[in-house]
Amino acid sequence: MNRDNWQVGGQELSSRLFLGTGLFPDPYVQMEAIKASGTEVLTFAIRRIHLDSVEDDSILQHVEPQKYIYLPNTSGATTADEAVRIARLARASGLSDWVKVEISANKRTLLPDPIETLRATEILVKEGFTVLPYISDDPVICKKLEEAGAAAVMPGAAPIGTGLGILNPYHLGLIVEELSVPVIVDAGLGTASDVALAMELGVSGILMNTPVAKAKDPVMMARSMRLAIEAGRLAYLSGRIPKKKYASASSGLESLVIE
């Protein structure tokens, strides 16, 4: 395959997988899975991090910081103000100036609050952050986030951790069509076929955590996701055949005639 790099906030990336660091059974499995996934971007909840001394944090201490871009997230925030405060803390600690805005309205579904997310995105963009909001798969709000200056927009396929796969492929397709910044599917995917399908719809990347971390073999699953992203991306770029109602022989019917 030719080089098929892409960019987020001016940063060139080759891997199209962003991996969450939560939920892994232990640091060894986590590090092996990170390696197997080929990811260049790691995401984690800011509230879980030991911000006074990031290199001593229980999770980040195992990661070689120069190898990865950190995408800290504001999970747990329920308002824009709270998310903004958390993002500022993360930047002040020298962690990263990328931030995933994650503001949940409901503790059972953890679905994003679109209004607060838009507000936080506006504020953080003005403050110079590279902002990647997690949002519902609604084309209208996704467009508004792009207009507010989001470096990428990250619609969920389904609620976080459910593994339900892409509940609304139609909307996801529209979002890809209407946005010019990268679209990254964040949350709700379950397995490799979900990932391939998302990539075939033309999204630029995938962010996931649970399907890898909670697999029976997280390391093998990380590799599977890497391959699924590549397969889906190649299929998208190659152009699939149209669907037809009836069969048409691939060898051409003439060849079946015996003389």
């Binding site: 939920l23 006074d52 001394s53 001593d56 229980s58 925030a77 709270e82 958390i86 503790k107 390391v219």
Partner: protein
């Protein structure tokens, strides 16, 4: 020597299984390459904390932990009665302390599912929190209190289980050095380094972080690896305010022991089978813990040590009999919770040795679940 069952490994898991098997009438011999309790089990903080250790969702592993907690009151009493050895068992409850407002959402969803599983939990804030645990930093925003969690003094428990084994007639052979599995397909035979041969009808493998060594002879994948835990203790005599609960944070925990020490753990290091203590590992603990309990800024730990937790690829222990060799049993890979899980593991192993089927949800712990050796992603069916 010949008997009903040989138990390989004398940590808390092997010892507890041996005791339970003996209580059910079997002739048991336990083989330990070093001293009993000389590895992870002697290093543990002894917390019995299914709720604080499972913060996401009530899966099979949580269920196993909770089941074991419910067995503890009777189990620890039985160990005391049989051994005549006392040890600390403290029903203190726990506090999971958070320092960000943003942690409240996660605490609330945890509270909701854990209460429906008997945690009796509640969220404490403000003066209620500082009344409950006066030494805490005033920067603590809230804590989830789980009154049913408790702790034991792990080295004493391990020693007591060993004495209970001896008192009830388990033959314990320690300091055997290298032990080789000579035969296992029909009957079981093992050679110790000194030339002694041990035979039995059945074998239980409970060799903790070393259990992967059995992968090759048995032909099954046993993806267990060591994760080192470094931990330290402070002298905590009468002049100091005693901690009333187990205290957890996202970075580690604090446990007040009756013997006048305060234990602070623990790192999770990728360091192979190296059990040394490092400057960096302990500094990490002393840096965060004073932010939770400010008085720790004034003192230095007097004791530092480390142990190897047996970690499994999917985070769950291996408990049960082998599919194709019904006389071989495995109990290993208990990672951070082997002290907690010892009674339930002993009960499940004794049940399966007696031929009882394990409950269906225990399928999550089947020792065969990772398939055969070399059955990688692209071979086999």
């Amino acid at each position: 020597m010949s008997g009903d069952i040989i138990v390989m490994g004398g940590g808390i898991i092997g010892l507890s299984c041996a005791l339970e098997l003996r209580r059910r009438g079997l002739n048991v011999a336990l083989l330990e390459k070093g001293p009993c309790g000389g590895q992870a089990s002697g290093a543990a903080a002894g917390m019995l904390a299914p709720y604080s250790e499972n913060v996401e969702s009530p899966d099979e592993f949580f269920r196993l932990c909770r089941e074991s907690l419910s067995l503890y009151p009777q189990w620890q009493q039985a160990v005391k009665d049989i051994s005549g050895v006392p040890f600390e068992y403290a029903e203190t409850g726990s506090l999971y302390v958070v320092r960000h407002e943003a942690d409240l959402l996660a605490l609330e969803s945890r509270l909701e599912w854990q209460r429906s599983w008997g945690s009796g939990g509640e969220i404490l804030t403000g003066s209620a929190l500082f009344d409950a645990e006066p030494g805490l930093t005033r920067e603590a925003v809230a804590a989830l209190r789980t009154p049913v969690e408790s702790h034991v003094y792990a080295p004493d428990l391990t020693e007591a289980v060993k004495r209970a084994c001896l008192a009830s007639g388990v033959q314990i052979h320690e300091h055997l050095g290298r032990i080789e599995l000579a035969e296992w397909r029909e009957r079981v035979a093992l050679w110790a380094q000194n030339g002694e041969r041990f035979e039995a009808d059945r074998l239980l493998i409970s060799t903790g972080a070393w259990v992967q060594e059995m992968s090759e002879p048995l032909g099954i994948r046993i993806p267990v690896h060591p994760i080192r835990g470094q931990i330290c203790a402070y002298t905590w005599n009468e002049e100091r305010e005693r901690l009333r609960h187990l205290v957890f944070t996202s970075q580690g925990y604090l446990v007040q022991k009756a013997n006048g020490t305060l234990v602070c753990g623990a790192s999770e290091d990728i360091a192979g089978f190296d059990t040394s203590v490092t400057e960096k590992g302990i500094r990490r603990l002393t840096e965060w813990n004073k932010q939770v309990l400010p008085v720790l800024g004034e003192v230095q730990p007097f004791h530092r040590w480390a142990g190897l937790r047996p970690a499994v690829l999917d985070g769950r222990p291996l408990i049960g009999r082998l599919d194709d060799a019904g006389h071989i049993f495995v109990a290993a890979g208990h990672y951070r919770n082997g002290i907690l899980l010892s009674p339930v593991t002993a009960a499940l192993i004794a049940d399966s040795v007696e031929g009882k089927p394990l409950p269906e949800w225990c399928g999550a712990f089947r020792p065969n679940r990772f398939g055969e050796v070399q059955a990688g992603a692209f071979s086999g069916k």
